[in-house]
Symmetry: C3
């Protein structure tokens, strides 16, 4: 399989594992990713998701060979597989679990969209990013034209899209596209430690934070503060909140994740 | 009183003055803040508002002790006090006066929301910021999930919310969360000088700028440029505009704030 | 003419050429700019637009002298010329061609809006920017209250508007207001090289990128990914896409811009 899913103890890992093809996403990979995201959306035991890749690069984007002249994908075929791709990205972005993209080597084109749909991004120092679409005359997909303006502003989004030049992890960090840059040899370890910290945290609280932050894109301040109070009131009924408050008042570390009997 | 209001010569100062309790906001403080913002909203003589705090920290957020297990606040009580809190924050954010938060020491949880609702933020070098909610398993409030994505982007907003790590004034500045970092011993003086500059400026023009910037979140460019021209035409009828233009053409400093007879 | 338009080989250049008046925009200049943008909007041969200025500064904004006390522009006159100004800015922002503002010296007030409406901005090192409105008690126009919050966030937008202090090209770059800072003596050359690169690129793809990025301000992620796929499918029918894919698979440089017979 080009894409594998591993699950253990509340942690799911999506692994792009087609290193000889630079982890490009063709129709088979898109269908596979969509199925994996359906599994993840239905499995409420999953609290954290890591997306990473085997080989020298995180991902080179779409499978350009599938558009080769003489036997190109038809617009109908593009719409059909595009619908699956969009479903996968929307599911990933809306998971109650926290999604960490752990990237290295190179991230290009559609793979930028997969990365952007994650909640948090850790990158290996030296990772090269490239929007890549303009190089082949393609129009951007995988949500890139929605995520980029929100994360880095229209100026940088257009510059990266129009000129398709490489930019590195430090520039990505400075513009708020990613959260953290680490030495390549520490990428796996740092990513897992972040995942472990999140696994030990208050699950429902995290899911509320994520939902509130993402919904705020389309709400007024009035609506948002109302929704915040509803979420706050609801969360106060959870065992995690009771434990968090007790621990704070007792000046000890909270132990989240215990179930009410 | 835990929160005091001082008013003099067009300047109002909201002072969190409960340093022994790290200026936490309980139900009494929220009601008090809401009353103060009502006074400010009704007093058109107020042109600039400073929000600052006595003691070692600007504010430690909500009163966590009020949620202690065994005698926790009920969801109904949370909704009731939450409505007052929301009203206070909305009033503060919508004041025609320009609001400067002047922060030092530490700003955590709900106090981040009070700070974020201000128009401008000056911070003492060394101030530590912390979203803090995740530590006790609480869902964010005080508009934090609305202000943070707009000011620093979703990546940083989620990172700060999920991990609840301290970040310092320099990081806050680099991400656009605050406007200025000054040595702690100069915080009071710099804040007051900024307030004095604003007090000497064109009041109605400032109020229009603030309203136009904040409304633009929900307008199209077409709508916004129309509203800009209406505001511009309206402002040209003010004595401040006549004085500003005269001063510019005479190559002298403008003296705003004179009333028409 | 205070504003000239040059067109050659798909490149249009708008030149503010009234250096003795610091390229201020009065009613005549606004009408002229509006007419030029109408010409550009109707001329589908234009693929790239450069906006630049002759003299020591890019532009000092509106013609303040036209508001002089005793014979000020009336609100009706402001609304009339404002409608032309708004039409010009909206046309410029919506051109399918990519618009590069190439600025130097000083950019102030309304000239900031002209710059902000461009897709990309190159600035000469040492360029001073100033919102300038507050100095004369004026309310901001030319879309500044819409572009600034989106490009640099509300904090910085309000700071720049309220205090009207100069900020330099490096600060503008750090906050994402502009794309590139170059030595003044290289400004013309770098701008033209960027234009040449864009002229050699896939025209319809660029226009789609620009439209998708700008529309995303008001769309949900769901809507945007659907529109991305429609644009992608449509673009795959263009000769540029066929050439781009062929070149990629042949490991050669793509030659865009050939017409289908």
């Amino acid at each position: 399989m080009s894409i594998r899913l591993e699950k253990a103890n509340g942690l799911a890992t999506i692994i792009f594992d087609n290193p000889h093809c630079m982890n490009v996403m063709g129709a088979a990979e898109i269908r596979s990713l969509n199925q994996l995201t359906e599994l993840l959306a239905e499995d409420r035991s999953i609290r954290v998701v890591i997306i990473r890749a085997e080989g020298k690069v995180f991902g080179a984007g779409g499978d350009i060979a599938s558009f080769k002249p003489g036997d190109p994908a038809s617009p109908e075929a593009i719409r059909e597989i595009g619908a699956e791709l969009n479903q996968a990205i929307l599911r990933l972005h809306k998971l109650p679990a926290i999604v960490i993209a752990s990237v290295h080597g190179a991230v290009a084109g559609g793979s930028m969209g997969t990365m952007n749909a994650a909640d948090l991004v850790v990158a290996a120092k030296g990772t090269r990013f490239n929007m890549a679409y303009a190089k082949i005359g393609a129009s951007p997909d995988v949500g890139n034209t929605w995520f980029l303006p929100r994360l880095v502003g229209n100026r940088k989004a257009l510059e990266w899209l129009l000129f398709s030049e490489n930019f590195d992890a430090d520039e990505a960090l400075a513009f708020g596209l990613i959260n953290l840059v680490v030495p390549p040899e520490q990428l796996k370890d740092v990513t897992e430690k972040l995942a472990m910290r999140l696994l030990r945290g208050p699950q429902e609280t995290y899911a509320r934070m994520k939902r509130l932050v993402y919904q705020s894109d389309a709400t007024s301040l009035e609506q948002q503060v109302n929704d915040e109070i509803e979420a706050f009131a609801s969360i106060t009924m959870t065992p995690d909140f009771a434990e968090g408050v007790s621990a704070f008042l007792d000046k000890r570390t909270a132990h989240f994740g215990c179930k009410l009997n």
